[in-house]
């Protein structure tokens, strides 16, 4: 446990150096690698996070409609859907999806590279694994998480619209108007900040656990599970903390 924390903070320190200091010492970010990772970590996650966000939007609209109908207040459905998506659910759901498909993949990939001596080979070839492997993944994650969350907000709103329009017979313009009415720019900003923080947590945890794998194929499997569990915990705790900080 203590070793894991030490490894984690050591990685974060290294990462900070390679992100901030190294580019000014003739070791620029590897943009080619970063774009490749943006595609793998971010773009390929779009269909899944879209589908999840759509179901969440639909469910939000259905649940709130069922409750609000009792009060005769179904006109608040769009606002409820939009504010919960923007403030909480879109960043959180996106993070869960990204942990499941990208965080675990990063841990498994780095872990496999570690046990097959590839990381050591990079070091011995004087190619720092930090610059070759970790920085591109970090940049890709931090760029793509907020974008995926924004995308999730749109798709979730579309899910809410499906229920509002076809079941509650709301006008589309009315739905959009009301949805926007309950969201401020600040909410969007905080939602983006949240997903940025989640991205940092997910990728640093995935990399730290992946780079410290030992024990062959079994070790890689265990590490991948641990990466997912620890990332989920970290994201939910961070979410609670950020919500308390900004909305409470």
């Amino acid at each position: 446990m203590i070793t894991a924390f030490r490894q984690y903070f050591a990685l974060c320190g290294d990462l900070l150096y390679w992100l901030v200091v190294a580019p000014f010492r003739g070791r620029p970010w590897r943009m080619g690698h970063t774009f490749a990772q943006i595609v793998r970590i971010g773009v390929h996650a779009v269909p899944m996070s879209a589908l999840t966000a759509l179901t969440i939007g639909v469910v939000l609209a259905m649940q709130s409609a069922a409750q609000l109908a009792k009060l005769g207040a179904t006109m608040y459905v769009p606002g409820l859907v939009s504010s919960s998506l923007v403030r909480e659910l879109a960043p959180l759901i996106t993070a869960v999806i990204v942990i499941g498909r990208s965080g675990s993949a990063v841990t498994a990939e780095l872990g496999t590279m570690k046990v097959s001596e590839e990381i050591e080979a990079l070091e011995v070839m004087a190619i720092p694994p930090m610059s070759w492997l970790i920085v591109p993944r970090f940049l890709a994650m931090v760029i793509m998480m907020p974008l995926l969350a924004v995308f999730g907000i749109y798709v979730g709103l579309a899910g809410g619209w499906l229920i509002s329009h076809f079941s509650l017979h709301m006008d589309t313009a009315y739905y959009i108007n009301h949805a926007l009415q309950y969201v401020e720019l600040r909410d969007v900003g905080i939602g983006m900040l949240k997903s940025g923080v989640f991205g940092v947590l997910i990728i640093t945890i995935a990399c730290s656990i992946g780079l410290n794998v030992s024990g062959g194929a079994e070790g890689v499997g265990l590490a991948t599970t641990r990466s997912v569990v620890v990332s989920l915990l970290a994201v939910f705790i961070a979410n609670a903390a950020l919500t308390a900080l900004f909305f409470f």
Partner: protein, 294 residues
């Protein structure tokens, strides 16, 4: 046992190891290892499984830090070196890993090109030519476009050798270069190693337990012991000197005999005692079900 350098090796040693000790927990893997490698040598580190050969090699390339002792490579102490200095030094040697350690995400040709792309300012066309030459040297012409997962274990090893030699380094480390290769490819790799030292003047440090290779390519040999001599040099010298050594552990290893002093085999009496839970049993980490008396 002779410790004087061969005639070809004049001047400063390229690698100088002094009193190297390494513990993993309570286990002593290297126990006071000292030797020198001179320019132009093909220096062979041999010994049974678990004697610490690969660990020793990892110390020489600076990926492991010793518990005690000093290691000088190109005259510079690497045990206390910063990462930055180590990086610079690493540009001057090539390393062939036991498993090959090719990057799975790149093709074979890209793997070989990697050191050239990273550490030289050659243009793409020239790099392409060099890569083709290197692949031809190890008999992999026409396999450059394949991913490492699509080629056999022996081919991976040869590709890794091509990568290690990409920059024509003056010093090459090689961990079990011929393990898993067929006899012909073993000869090819051995010949390549010899050509390195004879034509380019490179120095090669090889870890191996392939006796044919040892005597074919080695100019200086050390042997690490197992069991009671764990992590100690039990023999060193030229191939002829090693062959002539009367030490039974060395002879057993060279001739590949099952019974003898070397290795973990500690005789039938001890074996029986261990099985039956005798006093010696506690010294050996057998599963509790085997070693407990009850």
């Amino acid at each position: 046992m002779s410790s004087k350098p061969p005639d070809s090796a004049a001047g400063e040693p390229l690698i100088e190891v002094e009193g190297l000790v390494r513990h993993f927990g309570k286990q002593t893997v290297l126990n006071g290892v000292s030797f020198k490698v001179y320019e132009g040598d093909t220096f062979v580190i041999m010994g049974g499984s678990g004697c610490g050969k690969s660990t020793l090699l990892r110390h020489l390339i600076g990926t492991e830090k010793p518990t005690a002792g000093s290691i000088k490579v190109f005259g510079k102490e690497i045990t206390t070196m910063s990462d930055g200095e180590l990086q610079k030094l690493r540009g001057r040697y090539g390393m062939l890993f036991q498993s090959g350690a090719l990057l799975q995400s790149l093709t074979v040709a890209e793997n070989v090109a990697l050191p050239l792309v990273e550490h030289t300012k050659l243009d793409a066309g020239l790099i392409d030519t060099v890569v083709k030459m290197k692949l031809e040297q190890v008999g992999l012409t026409g396999h450059g476009h394949k991913k490492p997962s699509e080629i056999s274990g022996g081919m991976k090893k040869r590709a890794a050798l091509a990568r290690a030699l990409a920059l024509d380094p003056p010093l090459v480390f090689s961990d079990e270069p011929t393990a898993g290769l067929d006899p012909i490819m073993t000869a090819v790799v051995d010949e390549l190693t010899q050509r390195l030292t004879q034509k380019i003047g490179a120095t090669v440090v090889v870890v191996t337990h392939d006796m044919n290779s040892v005597f074919r390519i080695g100019t200086r040999i050390i042997m690490l012991g197992t069991g009671a001599n764990q992590g100690k040099i039990i023999a060193q010298g030229t191939p002829e000197e090693i062959r002539a050594l009367p030490d039974p552990a060395v002879q057993q290893f060279i001739n590949g005999e099952a019974e003898g002093d070397a290795g973990d085999d500690s005789g039938e009496l001890l074996y029986r005692q261990t099985l039956l839970g005798g006093s010696e049993a506690s010294r050996y980490a057998l599963p509790a079900t085997l070693s407990s008396k009850s």
